[in-house]
């Protein structure tokens, strides 16, 4: 058991996964690279030194000096990277713990509100019911925000496990449209969906992909002023299924386009008439799609609308 633990210390990919960082940012990997650089440079210094310096003792001294300097630099660099990685991991863990802790009182709150608005509790007046509904809406928003934060902390600590299986994107899209139908109608938005015939199934986690579609569709509807139209297309391109959603909404200003997939980012033109939204949806969508082996992107023009797309691999 102990031997296994010691061996694990040297298993760089496993160690890097712990931090949820790419290889080139991972302290363990950097230390290995630095080690190789030190060995190579001492050999080079030795080869060059022994050619031009006659006294072998001086050569050895130079080589040792160079190695010592390089080693000090390597330790400083990897140490600081390690500290950064650790801080990052702790931040994600903090978000996860806080979100979990917030959930319990919130569940209580939601259930009590549900009890009050469901007609099960006696003696609630019309006026009170109105206020309770406001409480309900807000507690629902809070719940969504917390579940987004939990997904993000899972993404960042590399703990988001995708339960992949063969799924029909078409069915998933239809279900999501159905779910958001009331919201679309209330926003005067017509949602159209056209899928090419005989589309193959994709290989992905249905609950996560549903979240992606939900986020994209919700955005498309939410950011349409007064009334408009959303068009969803689904087709097969090579070994992928391509989902496309086009809206006649407010669009994304050019200067904001490069930040759109960053977490907590919200475009200024959007905030002018939609205060709701956490700026987490697209970040989650990108992480999920990329983890599923697909790509995500968009085209947008301010005032005209946006078109988002993603692809997913066919098994």
């Amino acid at each position: 058991m102990n031997l296994k633990k010691i061996f694990e210390q040297f298993n760089i990919p496993v160690q890097c996964k712990k931090y949820g960082l790419p290889l080139w940012q991972c302290p363990h990997f950097l230390f290995l690279v630095m080690g190789i650089i030190i060995i190579v440079s001492t050999l080079v210094v030795y080869a060059v030194g022994s050619r031009y310096v006659e006294d072998p003792q001086v050569v050895v001294l130079i080589v040792l000096l160079v190695a010592a300097i390089l080693f000090t630099i390597a330790v400083i660099i990897t140490r600081s990277f390690e500290r950064l990685a650790e801080a990052n991991r702790m931040k994600s863990e903090f978000v996860s713990i806080v979100s979990h802790q917030l959930r319990s009182p919130l569940s209580n709150l939601r259930w009590v509100i549900e009890l009050l608005t469901s007609g099960r509790a006696n003696g609630v007046s019309e006026k009170q019911l109105e206020y309770f509904k406001i409480l309900k809406e807000n507690s629902d928003r809070m719940r969504e925000l917390i579940s987004d934060l939990l997904i993000i902390s899972r993404i960042e600590t590399a703990k988001l496990s995708l339960k992949k299986k063969e799924i029909s994107l078409e069915d998933l899209i239809r279900k999501t449209i159905e779910e958001l139908e009331v919201f679309a109608k209330a926003s005067n938005v017509k949602v159209e969906f056209g899928a090419k015939e005989n589309l193959p199934k994709v290989f992905a986690d249905p609950s996560q992909i549903r979240l992606v579609i939900e986020n994209l569709l919700d955005n498309a509807i939410r950011y349409i002023k007064e009334k408009g139209q959303v068009e969803i297309k689904l087709e097969k391109i090579d070994k992928h299924c391509r989902f496309e959603i086009k809206d006649t909404g407010v669009g994304i200003p050019k200067e904001d386009q490069k930040y759109i997939f960053q977490k907590f980012f919200r475009s200024e033109n959007v905030m002018r008439y939609q205060t709701q939204g956490s700026g987490l949806g697209l970040y989650i969508a990108k992480s999920v799609v990329e983890k599923s082996g697909g790509k995500i992107g968009f085209k947008s023009e301010e005032g005209k609308g946006s078109t988002f797309f993603f692809t997913l691999p066919i098994k």
Partner: protein, 122 residues
């Protein structure tokens, strides 16, 4: 009248749920920690157990394990009702013999009642 044992340390939830279960025509017995939960399961022999996981004295998983090991209680269906969502918890609970695993935040009261009815075969 069918009885439901609700093992949950939050008294607010006990109250809310008790009210609703009563309306639905069930009798609710409440236990505020794992130890009392185990004892009441044996004495009262309820038709269903609603079990939280993060409990004082005895953890929910331990309660579940002991319930399923005991001849007298092993056939009582157990619904895990918790906010604990971590990877592996669902699998562990099902493996130990839980009927369903519900994350409180993801379900409304009505949906939980539906699951209870289903577990009771109604």
């Amino acid at each position: 009248m069918k009885t439901i044992l609700f093992v949950e340390d939050e008294s607010t939830l006990q109250k809310t749920f008790g009210e609703i279960l009563k309306q639905e025509g069930y009798e609710m017995i409440s236990a505020l920690d794992g130890e009392i939960g185990l004892r009441l399961a044996k004495i009262k022999n309820p038709d269903l157990i609603l079990l939280d996981l993060i409990l004082p004295k005895v953890h929910g998983f331990e309660v579940l394990k002991k319930l399923k090991e005991d001849k007298e209680t092993k056939d009582i269906p157990v619904i895990v009702l918790t906010n604990l969502e971590g990877i592996g918890n669902v699998e562990k609970a099902i493996e130990l013999g839980a009927t369903t695993y519900l994350v409180k935040a993801n379900y409304s009261l009505e949906e939980v009642i539906e699951k209870i009815k289903k577990a009771l075969g109604e």
